[in-house]
């Protein structure tokens, strides 16, 4: 009988000790906020274009952390989806066409002699990449432009174009080697031989 009681007491004592340790740890090593949101936000392209249906990349990151689909980001494209799938350990799915298609990287360009200086595009730009003042010509700081095209719609005179970024020797990429035909030397002509035999 005493052994049983001793065992129970020991187990109880252990439970109390570990409970205290865990309780202390949960207070001492508390993490503020949701760290996964930061990680997801780090993978999103930060164009702040809103094509996902959320008002910016961070809100979408929060939505993903709460279980939204990972394939709503056209500017990020498949590579972002793959990275998100890798991070969240979910299936990589193709881009949801409802939110747009993956396009070549673009930058906004203002046809400057048509600009009337209304500052509407400046207010629309999420990254302050448009320079100008009221009644003064505006221009896009190309290096800062994320290509979100949010400035195109507000322009009353339609003088903003989205132009694909030109490939120069500075941003040229080596192409992937052509896919190998995958033939095995001994397989060459085998199909034809069988056909001939059939005749």
């Amino acid at each position: 009988m005493t052994t049983v009681i001793t065992a129970i007491l020991i187990l109880f004592g252990l439970a109390v000790v570990f409970g205290i340790i865990l309780g202390y740890a949960s207070v001492r090593f508390r993490v503020e906020g949701n760290p996964i949101v930061d990680q997801i936000d780090g993978l999103l392209p930060q164009t702040q274009c809103g094509q996902c249906g959320y008002p910016g990349c961070r809100p979408y990151a929060e939505a993903i952390a709460n279980g939204d689909a990972i394939n709503k980001c056209p500017p990020g494209g498949q590579s972002t989806i793959d990275a998100l799938a890798d991070l969240l350990d979910v299936e990589a799915v193709p881009l949801d066409a409802e939110h747009g298609e993956e396009q070549a990287k673009m930058v906004a360009f203002i046809r400057e002699d048509e600009c009337i200086g209304c500052t509407k595009c400046i207010q629309a730009c999420p990254v302050d990449a448009i320079l100008g003042a009221a009644k003064q010509m505006h221009t896009v700081i190309t290096d800062e432009c994320t290509g979100c095209d949010l400035c195109v719609e507000p322009c009353p005179v339609d003088c903003i174009d989205m132009i694909p970024i030109e490939t120069t020797i500075a941003n040229w990429k080596w192409p992937a080697p052509a896919e190998a035909p995958g033939l095995i030397a001994t397989d060459r002509g085998r199909g034809e031989l069988q056909q001939q035999e059939a005749h």
Partner: protein, 839 residues
């Protein structure tokens, strides 16, 4: 000779070096045109300092370095700058890039230049700056600006200077020939660099397949004061790789991701060393280099001294190319070079070799076959990597893993691909993976930057909002405080208040009156009952009376001030008159009642009635006066008011008539009175009507000239037109339901309406035209017009876009209508714009 170590792997491809070393270095005949890419080196592209059409002399600076890691560019010969723009450049992409094109004038006239003399007396920084000004960049392959490397002595301890003369790649003999013929110049360069870097030891690493070069160097080194060691290394590809040569000569390994200077070593190419010598001794910038032109498709493989910017075609001509045999033009060596499509690509500072290969020499690559995991690539890799693993990762786009397997330590020497039995283009896979990773990293940087900017913007907007809120609060507080101050001032003394509040005064007067009444009542009660302090009460009544009078006076004064100062408030006066009339009526009634009952103080009542009558008359008079004064006093008669007055008069008349009729029907009393009222009202209505008409006429007369210059109210006109249109439509629909006489009547009415519509439309159009003409006459605000036109155009395109997007039918119809309207507008505006635009 010191010990020679070994590096891992390496291969022994056929050397093919003998062909091009049979003849001495020859200069290329002066080409007609030279193309100088602005980017010939690692770092920022240089920025042109010459203009198209400008004459330049040989050695003149034509583009200056723009940042720390950049190199200038000099005219290789005298001539004219004919263009600055895109031209094919020696790059794997085959893309065009900005080049300065110089048309030579054939004189090859040097700009004034001279060497530095005794450079040992100069400050090192000054000497290095001179080298930078001469545009010297590494001539071995990467093109790293040399001045940056020479500054390495500032923050690193450099104990060994290695001259990389291994030249391990097949076919290339440019350094070999240079050493054979210009060993003394190379030695001169070594002296200068040693002076700057102060190494304890200089090693010249040469492969053992260049005995003549070794011989020449040894001859030149005889009697040299420097600790220079020529070390012959066995021929093995790629012993000329910087890290491999360091391993061979010193046994040390450069850490991954580090530079040789981290272990106290600086490497220089013999060509660069010679360029430094010529720059310091003669003041000659880097404008030419030795290029090996070889391959089966040239008759005389040889080394040529070519000006930077010479098109490959000129080099091939100088070496007598067999056009029909030429299958492939390779820039660089057979292992690391790239095939180029264009023979107008110019020689740059890093071009060491051009191979014009025949089809037998460099056949097309055999098809790629599956990897059999034989491991031969691993055995030859000089960087001790796992080429096979890297290949799988690159193929599967697992770039993170490739990076973890040290992909970036790959020197792309091509040894693995050379030995691969499955002919897999391994280096292509590595290059692809590297550039993908670089792009990804660049995008990551860019997105981080965008995030920072976005967050900064958000924070700014937030801050601005908060500031606005703060300001609003501050204003509200200020207002509350001033209100408080005013209130306290008011309570402290009415008289001191500069702006007298009439309503407050009124209240005060009323209060005083009430008090007086109460006092009076109390007095009366006291008198009736016969007790109480009657004299005291009388005094109180007296006091209340005075205070009430004072209050009344103050009020009257205030009221009297106001109307004279401001516009006379006719409305108020009217109310006063009405009140007076009501009072009069009441008094009359009271008098009548008193008479009927025979009670009360009739005389007092009569007096009161008279007073009321007088005050009512006064009020009425004041009102009428004010009204007429207002009518006359205003700058132009207020037509609207007059119209209203006339209408009111008419209504009153009508009412009065109705009342009269009613009374007549019922035979009621007071008919005469009513009749009189009706007649007066009739008169009044007529008067009002007349006044209105007069005013209208005069307004029309005065308005007409006023209207001309001022833009007509187009909007109102337009509205009118559209109202007409709507009326017509309504009438038409109504007409459809009618028959017989009613129909003909309605038709008539419709016709009339139509006419009116046409008139209104015409008026609108003419007004519009007039406005446009007037604008034209005054010099139209072209800018505004342009803006309008642009906006109209934009509206059209936007509508078109939404039309293309929309699917619902009814939506489409309305959109189409809108679009048509927008098009019309845009068209109109465009034509006007064209009319007014200066031809």
């Amino acid at each position: 000779m010191g010990k020679v170590f070994a590096f891992h792997g390496g291969i022994h491809p056929p050397e093919n070096k003998k062909q091009s070393t049979r003849t001495p270095i020859r200069p290329v005949p002066l080409p007609k045109r030279l193309y100088l890419p602005l980017q010939q080196h690692i770092g920022m592209a240089s920025s042109p300092v010459v203009d198209v059409g400008q004459q330049v002399l040989k050695g003149q600076l034509i583009a200056e370095p723009v940042s720390r890691i950049s190199a200038g560019l000099h005219a290789p010969t005298s001539g004219t700058v004919v263009s600055i723009g895109p031209h094919p450049v020696p790059h794997a992409s085959g893309l065009d890039s900005d080049c300065i094109c110089i048309e030579s004038d054939g004189r090859d006239q040097w700009i004034e230049h001279q060497g530095l003399g005794d450079y040992t007396r100069l400050e090192p920084a000054e000497l290095i700056d001179h080298i930078r000004q001469c545009g010297i960049a590494g001539m071995g392959g990467a093109g790293f600006p040399t001045d940056v490397k020479l500054h390495l002595g500032d923050d690193h301890i450099v104990n060994t200077l290695i001259i990389n003369a291994a030249e391990c790649e097949p076919y290339i003999t440019a350094d070999d020939m240079l050493m054979r013929e210009r060993a003394d110049e190379i030695l001169g360069g070594i002296r200068i660099i040693s002076h700057l870097l102060k190494p304890s030891h200089v090693i010249i690493g040469v492969e053992d397949n260049k005995p003549q070069a070794i011989h020449a160097l040894e001859a030149a080194l005889k009697g040299c004061e420097l600790n220079i060691d020529i070390r012959v290394v066995p021929t093995k590809y790629p012993s000329g790789g910087e890290r491999q040569l360091i391993k061979l000569l010193t046994g040390l390994e450069v850490p991954s991701g580090g530079i040789p200077a981290d272990i106290g070593i600086v490497c220089q190419n013999p060509g660069t060393v010679r360029a430094v010598y010529r720059a310091v001794t003669f003041g000659e910038p880097l404008i030419s280099r030795i290029v090996t032109v070889t391959g089966d498709a040239v008759a005389q493989p040889q080394n040529l001294e070519a000006l930077i910017g010479t098109p490959f075609g000129d080099l091939l001509d100088a070496a007598h190319v067999y056009e029909n045999k030429l299958y492939r033009l390779v820039m660089g060596g057979p292992m690391m070079g790239v095939t180029v499509e264009h023979d107008q690509i110019p020689v740059i500072k890093t071009s060491n070799c051009i191979i014009a290969a025949s089809i037998d020499e460099m056949p097309p690559a055999p098809p790629e076959q599956p990897c059999i995991r034989c491991g031969m690539c691993e055995q030859v890799c000089p960087a001790e990597l796992l080429p096979q693993q890297l290949y799988w990762f690159a193929k599967g786009r697992e770039f993170d893993k490739a990076k973890q397997h040290n992909l970036f330590d790959c020197i792309e020497c091509g040894a693995c691909a050379y030995v691969c039995p499955s002919s897999i283009p391994l280096v292509q896979y590595y290059r692809f993976a590297k550039s993908e990773i670089r792009t990804e990293e660049a995008e990551q940087r860019k997105s981080d930057h965008a995030r920072a900017r976005f967050e900064a913007r958000q924070a700014r907007l937030e801050r601005e909002k908060a500031e606005k809120e703060e300001r609003r609060k501050a204003r509200a507080e200020e207002a509350a405080r001033s209100q408080k101050v005013r209130k306290s001032a008011e309570s402290s003394g009415v008289a001191t208040e500069p702006t007298q509040d009439i309503s407050a005064l009124k209240t005060a007067a009323a209060v005083a009156r009430t008090k007086l009444k109460k006092a009076q009542k109390a007095l009366d009660a006291a008198r009736d009952s016969g007790d109480g302090d009657i004299p005291a009460l009388e005094a109180a009544v007296q006091a209340a009376h005075t205070s009430a009078e004072q209050a009344q006076q103050a009020l009257e004064k205030a009221e009297g001030v106001k109307p004279t100062a401001a516009n006379i408030d006719t409305k108020q006066l009217k109310t006063a008159a009405a009140v007076a009339r009501t009072k009069l009526k009441k008094a009359q009634k009271a008098l009548d009642a008193a008479r009927d009952s025979g009670e009360g103080d009739l005389s007092a009542l009569e007096a009161a009635l008279k007073a009321a009558q007088a005050s009512a008359d006064q009020a009425q008079q004041a009102f009428e006066q004010a009204e007429s004064g207002a009518a006359a006093g205003t700058t132009g008669p207020d037509l609207k008011q007059l119209k209203t007055a006339a209408a009111v008069a008419r209504t009153k008349l009508k009412k009065a008539r109705d009342a009269l009729k009613n009374a007549e029907d019922k035979g009621l009393e007071g008919l005469d009175k009513l009749r009189a009222t009706v007649t007066t009202l009739e008169q009044k209505a007529e008067e009002a009507d007349k006044a209105y008409k007069d005013a209208e006429a005069s307004a029309g007369a005065t308005e007409a000239p006023v209207n001309q210059p001022v833009p007509v109210d187009l909007k109102a006109l337009k509205q009118q037109v559209s109202i007409m249109r709507t009326k017509i439509k309504k009438a038409e629909t109504a007409l459809a339901g009618l028959e017989g006489e009613a129909r003909s009547q309605a038709e008539q009415a419709l016709e009339e309406l139509r006419q009116r519509h046409a008139e209104a439309d015409k008026a609108f159009k003419s007004a519009e035209q007039a406005q446009l003409d007037a604008a034209a006459a005054q010099g139209v605000d072209l800018k505004q017009l342009k803006i309008d036109a642009a906006m109209a155009r934009a509206a059209v395109t936007k509508l078109e876009r939404s039309l293309a997007k929309s699917e619902a039918n009814d939506e489409r119809a309305s959109l189409e209508a809108e679009l048509a309207a927008a098009r019309d507008k845009a068209e109109n505006l465009n034509t006007t714009l064209k009319q007014h635009e200066p031809a």
